[in-house]
């Protein structure tokens, strides 16, 4: 999309557009660039934000018998803590469950939200405005308000303990994603559609062949948000799934305890670290699209 390429010269944008340097006195610019203070503050903040991970890694490598000892680094590091963490709970099976559930929900909701967003952005029908108000209104309904009544509904249909709830939730789309798509599709020029209509394309073909291919950043954004939401969810799987098919979030949060119910902190740290990795990788991989998806549609 062209919209991201900075509306009319921005204050001080990234490397993608080394915009209006000329209009300012060159001295001021050089000064701003060289001032070490913002850089220093940013480094300090970054260190503070990352420090919890560092201490978590140290805890994860600490042998159990040295956990309570008051020193910064244990006498020796025990890499096999990670192996123990993976063995203490059925880690890979849970990870597979999480992966399946997050992917299924992510793909379905990305697609379904795009359909609905397109409808609200480019099509017209009776009661459209009222339905849009409904959409915004449902954004305000806390998920927990619907979760327990939904549980009762699904148990009537014998869907509790299966992955069907996530399929249905996915197919229904996500209000926030729909809103983003609607903003995004609204900005497309009308000529784009008109050219396709002249070529004899129907609405579905226009959607699939014109709009979807042009919305990659937002598709990726919506998928990442949806994937992370399910990967990170705890209440849903706890309520709707059972021990045999629950997700990694539940396993990591509840599994690392000894028989008295006390947490095994070093294994917990190791398990939590591995659990976070896919989310971080997905974000790093999608970062640019993610930022673009927000920049083009999260605003206005």
């Amino acid at each position: 999309m062209t919209a991201i390429k900075s509306p009319a010269g921005s204050t001080d944008t990234g490397r993608r557009d080394p915009a209006p340097v000329a209009s300012r006195p060159p001295g001021a610019r050089r000064l701003a660039r060289r001032s070490p203070i913002p850089f220093g503050i940013a480094v300090v903040v970054a260190v503070v934000m990352i420090l919890p991970f560092v201490t978590l890694i140290i805890s994860a490598l600490t042998p159990a018998d040295q956990m309570g000892i008051n020193r910064w680094l244990p006498g020796y590091l025990r890499l096999s803590n990670f192996a123990d963490a993976v063995r203490y709970i059925p880690f890979w099976q849970l990870a597979k469950n999480s992966l399946v559930l997050s992917s299924v929900f992510g793909i379905l909701t990305t697609f379904s939200s795009a359909l609905t967003g397109y409808g609200f952005a480019r099509l017209h029908g009776p009661a459209k405005n009222a339905l849009f108000v409904l959409l915004i209104g449902t954004m305000m309904v806390p998920p927990i308000v619907t979760l327990i009544p939904t549980y009762l509904l699904f148990s009537d249909f014998h869907l509790v303990g299966t992955y069907w709830p996530w399929v249905l939730w996915g197919a229904a789309g996500t209000p926030y994603a729909i809103f983003l798509y609607r903003q995004y599709f609204s900005a497309f020029p009308k000529e784009l559609e008109e050219a396709a209509v002249i070529d004899g394309a129907g609405k579905l073909r226009i959607f699939f062949q014109v709009f979807l291919p042009l919305s990659r950043p937002l598709l990726i954004t919506a998928f990442v948000l949806a994937f992370n939401a399910v990967w990170g969810d705890f209440i849903g799987p706890n309520l709707f799934l059972n021990q045999s098919n629950t997700t990694l979030a539940v396993g990591v949060a509840t599994g690392y305890e000894n028989s008295q119910g006390y947490p095994l902190y070093n294994l917990l740290a190791g398990g939590a670290l591995i659990y976070v990795v896919p989310v971080l990788l997905l974000f790093l991989f999608a970062q640019r699209s993610y930022v673009r998806g927000f920049a083009t549609s999260g605003l206005k």
Partner: protein, 325 residues
């Protein structure tokens, strides 16, 4: 239903599509939104309606009976000392977390908007905690704040302070705030995008007129980004009011297996924990439902208040390029 009625008046004369085309257009609209519409009806509207119905009953979640109790659940929600204290605790949490998050995000975004070495890396590092799933964030801080093996007490020991019980008693509330504030960067991406929309000509004009950095912020930057800040504030208030996962996972012993909420320190007994207990520990489905309905009303009321008080100062710019894109 009204499609044909509306299109009757001279639509054809002005070259607009005729009734049939409009009907087909409406069908296309409803076709595209049908997954969402059906899904919302079944998975949002019906459950909300059901919760409202249950809130007037004394159902225990098991019996085929759902005895009608009228407004007595609501009466209890609004007079019960326990429920009101969990509600006020949640409001205090929100009052602390939301302003810090909104202001902190914006300050960080403005900082990271400056040119500096390694900016992309710094942005990523500062943003990372915001994408860590809440489950993991809670567990990470639980490890750090553990009394015996945690880093927090080790740090205090450097200053000669004896180990503190962070996860029990009143201290647990501090840890809960720390967990929520760790994700402070969540607004950075949107703020950074918003900062790019600040018109450079206006900044330049303000500079020429002698406005300092604060003047430029107050009169140019803030008006330009205020709609996004308002939107963010509302979303952050709603999510903070719903705080649940960190509160339940932070407790030191055994409470993580669900259904055992007894070990949660009172300081972290937020509203959603209370709701959960009503449903799954006490089987009070009617009362729990009434709590959910009241909670929803609180959310709507707070959203309305935010719009009333902050919305007034929001500046909606007329985008001159809006039509051209």
């Amino acid at each position: 239903m009204t499609a044909t009625a509306m299109s009757g008046s001279g639509a054809a004369a002005r070259g607009r599509p005729g009734p049939l085309r409009r009907l087909r257009g409406g069908l296309a609209f409803y076709g595209f939104i049908s997954p969402w519409l059906i899904g919302t009806a079944a998975l949002t509207l019906y459950p909300v309606g059901y919760a409202v119905y249950l809130s007037f009953t004394g159902w225990n979640g098991m019996s085929p009976f759902k005895p009608w109790v009228g407004l007595s659940n609501y009466q209890e929600v609004l007079t019960s000392g326990d429920t009101l204290s969990t509600l006020s605790r949640t409001l205090v949490l929100t009052a602390i977390v939301v302003p810090v998050t909104i202001v902190g995000s914006l300050l960080l975004a403005m900082l990271l908007n400056k040119r500096m070495r390694g900016r992309a890396v710094l942005r990523t590092l500062i943003y990372i905690p915001a994408i860590v799933p809440p489950v993991a964030a809670a567990l990470i801080w639980k490890v750090i704040f553990d009394k015996n093996s945690g880093t927090a007490n080790r740090l205090l020991a450097v200053f000669g302070v004896h180990p503190l019980n962070w996860l029990t008693g009143g201290n647990a509330f501090i840890v809960l705030i720390v967990v929520l504030l760790w994700a402070l960067g969540s607004g950075i991406i949107i703020d950074l995008a918003a900062l790019q929309t600040v018109p450079a000509e206006q900044l330049e004009a303000a500079r020429v007129d002698g406005a300092g950095p604060f003047g430029r912020f107050r009169h140019v930057i803030l008006p330009a980004i205020s709609p996004i800040l308002l939107f963010q504030t509302v979303l952050t208030v709603i999510t903070t009011l719903q705080t649940f996962i960190p509160a339940i996972l932070l407790s030191p012993i055994g409470s993580s297996s669900m259904g055992q909420t007894t070990n949660i320190p009172q300081a972290n007994d937020v509203y959603m924990i209370d709701v959960y207990e009503q449903f799954f520990d006490y089987s009070r489905y009617g009362y729990g439902s009434a709590m959910l309905v009241v909670f929803f009303v609180v959310i709507v009321a707070m959203t309305a208040l935010i719009f009333k008080f902050l919305g007034r100062s929001v500046f909606y710019a007329v985008d001159p390029k809006a039509g051209k894109r």
